[in-house]
């Protein structure tokens, strides 16, 4: 009998007594609230985004300026006042944040995880783990502030053409911000690798280096990959650090060209904050464009989370 069946059998008799019913309903309501939140989010974002796009605005019965889906998804200029709503300009900047921060966070995060799980003594571990948690706990405004006050001036002598607002500082601080996420989830995955596998490696004469890189890392690969995706979706959603450090000019840049990182740009989240500063309520296409961007962002992070779940499930090694 599974644990659940056993519990059910033992509690069946009293299941419908008033205190049981009351408590169960209360807890159910709490759980239902989380579903309600998602439904609320989806309804709100879809509803407002529907008013933004031309094809759906007619359905919802909204008049006024709208943008077409094609223009939104393929346009490379984002200029709200002149009616240009090409989200690609914002998406490429977000992509830049993702790439830049992952270059920093992924190697350092996995390195930290390997060190903590394989090499560090328990005492060192008990010091470093809280340290990482504190790193994760520092607010993003503070990171943004650090980027623009300390990091950009420190980098300017070394990197030619680095303006006051640039993507490089933003990527650096976002990278540092997500290291703890990568490290802790990867480390959990590595700790789950059974000791027998490591011992088998040692028994065959492998060095610690060979065991760590050849046995532990491949065995926990699904967890590491999961941590990558989660950390990247956090990087994409990062708002204040990039708003403060990267400026407010929406540009269509090539994320794979290192030169673009010295320029100022505006990722999706920063664009939302800027738009809201000028245009919170009321109708108007600018207000709706905030929801259109929000909708895009939500879809992207949702897809990334689902992919991470699927990968983790598919490739997870059950020990």
């Amino acid at each position: 009998m599974s644990a659940d069946d056993l519990e059910d059998a033992l509690t069946r008799r009293t299941q419908n007594a008033p205190p049981e019913l009351l408590s169960r309903s209360f807890f159910f309501a709490c759980a239902a609230l989380s579903i309600a939140t998602t439904i609320g989010l989806v309804v709100l974002l879809t509803g407002e985004a529907a008013k933004f796009f031309s094809f759906s605005a007619a359905l919802v019965g909204v008049t006024g300026e709208t943008a077409t889906v094609v223009e939104f998804l393929t346009g490379t200029t984002w200029e709200v006042t002149s009616g240009k709503f090409g989200v690609l300009a914002l998406v490429t900047s977000t992509l830049m944040v993702m790439i830049g921060s992952s270059l920093i966070a992924l190697p350092l995060g996995v390195g930290t995880a390997i060190y903590l799980s394989e090499y560090a003594s328990p005492r060192l571990r008990s010091l470093l783990k809280p340290g990482l948690e504190i790193l994760a706990g520092i607010p993003t405004v503070v990171y943004g502030f650090f980027a623009i006050i300390y990091i950009t001036p420190a980098l300017q002598p070394f990197v030619p053409g680095l303006g006051t607002f640039n993507m490089l500082s933003a990527c650096i601080v976002v990278g540092i911000m997500i290291i703890p996420m990568v490290a802790s989830i990867s480390e959990d995955a590595m700790s789950a690798v059974p000791e027998e596998l490591r011992q088998a490696g040692y028994g065959m004469g492998a060095t610690k280096f060979e065991v760590s890189t050849g046995i532990v890392v491949p065995a926990s690969l699904s967890g590491i990959f999961s941590s990558f995706i989660l950390a990247l979706s956090r990087a994409i959603g990062e708002t204040m650090a990039v708003t403060i450090a990267a400026g407010s000019q929406a540009k269509f840049l090539n994320p794979f060209n290192p030169g673009s990182y010295t320029e100022a740009a505006q990722p999706m989240t920063a664009a939302m904050v800027e738009l809201v500063g000028g245009d919170i309520t009321g109708g108007g296409i600018a207000y709706r464009s905030v929801f259109a961007i929000g909708f895009t962002l939500f879809v992207i992070t949702l897809v990334m989370n689902i992919v991470s779940d699927l990968v983790a499930q598919h490739y997870r090694e059950e020990y």
Binding site: F165, G277, G282
Partner: protein, 335 residues
């Protein structure tokens, strides 16, 4: 029975001791109850919600601070949203009591307000010298004409490098920083510069637009070939890192941005009035009306407006006009 008796005595003693302690505490610590004691406060109370232009924001905040010190029960909520943003999203929907603006209210906004039953009262509070700034080290530029400004900032021309505009200027990429389109400063710049010629040009969009003037300063400070424009107050606090460019309005004489030149009218066309729009229904409330009176009363106060903040105070005549408008509005509201 002995133990029980002793226990009972001990317990009785404890009860007496406890009661005595309680009584003593009550006597020492309780007194006549005057709750709620602070309510009948002499003076005004209430909240004042202000939103709108980032240019006028320092003025509103300064006066809110001073007024609040003298009237502790009046609370202020201030937001810097840009003139247009303030009208569209806070004032006309009826959420705020004052909207600050660095340009006059426009017809669509008037209509929106009317549709919501909000009546704005136009009050002038100061004069600004909109300043064009460049980096302190930008030796290549020492003056600019209105025509050149129009060319630089227009959508139609959108020059990429400086020497496309003026041969004497270097062949370097143009970097521009300025207010975003929710800002009254943006609207005023279009009116004064881009619409000044025969053709009504539109404002180019490939610049760094923001509601936060500090961002404009930082941007220009960071690059030798950058240009920006913003309100004089923000420029005057940072003359050590950016430079205001003298503007030639067509008569061949470039005029430096300064309070004196703005006051005399020589610094044209970038001298502009700054406004605040209280809503009529809010003036029915005593604390809002008093604050409005206080503000207009101090529009000639050079110490605060010119020295501390950096705009041109009104002259006595204009202030008198504003006071009359305000008083009439208050009378109408409080009927």
């Amino acid at each position: 029975m002995d133990g029980n008796d002793r226990e009972r005595v001990r317990t009785r003693r404890q009860v007496l001791a406890g009661a005595g302690a309680l009584g003593a505490t009550a006597l020492a610590g309780c007194s006549r109850n005057t709750y709620p004691d602070n309510d009948a406060s002499t003076g005004l109370s209430g909240t004042v919600d202000i939103a709108g232009s980032s240019t006028v924001f320092p003025i509103a905040t300064a006066f809110a601070e001073i007024f609040g010190k003298n009237h502790k029960d009046v609370g202020f909520n201030l937001q810097s949203t840009g003139s247009g943003g303030g009208f569209a999203n806070h004032f006309c929907p009826g959420r705020t009591d004052f909207n600050n603006a660095s340009r006059p209210i426009r017809e669509p906004e008037q209509n929106q307000c009317a549709a919501n039953g909000v009546e704005p009262v136009e009050l002038v509070v100061a004069t600004d010298a909109l300043t064009v700034i460049v980096n302190d080290n930008a030796d290549w530029i020492d003056r600019v004409t209105v025509e050149e400004l129009a060319t630089i900032w227009s959508e139609e021309e959108s020059p990429e490098t400086w020497n496309e505009v003026n041969d004497d200027w270097p062949d370097e990429d143009i970097e521009l920083f300025g207010p975003s389109d929710a800002s009254g400063t943006y609207d005023y710049f279009i009116e004064a510069i881009l619409h000044s010629g025969d053709e009504k040009l539109s404002h180019r969009q490939d610049y760094s637009g923001t509601e936060q003037d500090r961002t404009i300063l930082q941007g220009v400070e960071g690059s030798e070939f950058a240009m920006g424009y913003l309100g004089y107050a923000y420029y005057s606090e940072n003359t050590d890192v950016v430079r205001g460019v003298p503007v030639d309005d067509g008569d061949g004489e470039p005029v430096e941005p300064s309070l004196a030149n703005a006051r005399s009218g020589e610094y044209s066309p970038l001298t502009r009035p700054l406004f605040t729009y209280p809503k009529l229904s809010a003036l029915a409330e005593e604390h809002v009306a008093e604050f409005a009176r206080f503000w207009i009363e101090n529009t000639t106060n050079g110490d605060i407006i010119a020295d501390e903040i950096g705009y041109v105070p009104l002259d006595q005549e204009t202030k008198q006009e504003q006071m009359e408008t305000l008083e009439a509005a208050i009378v109408e509201a409080q009927q």
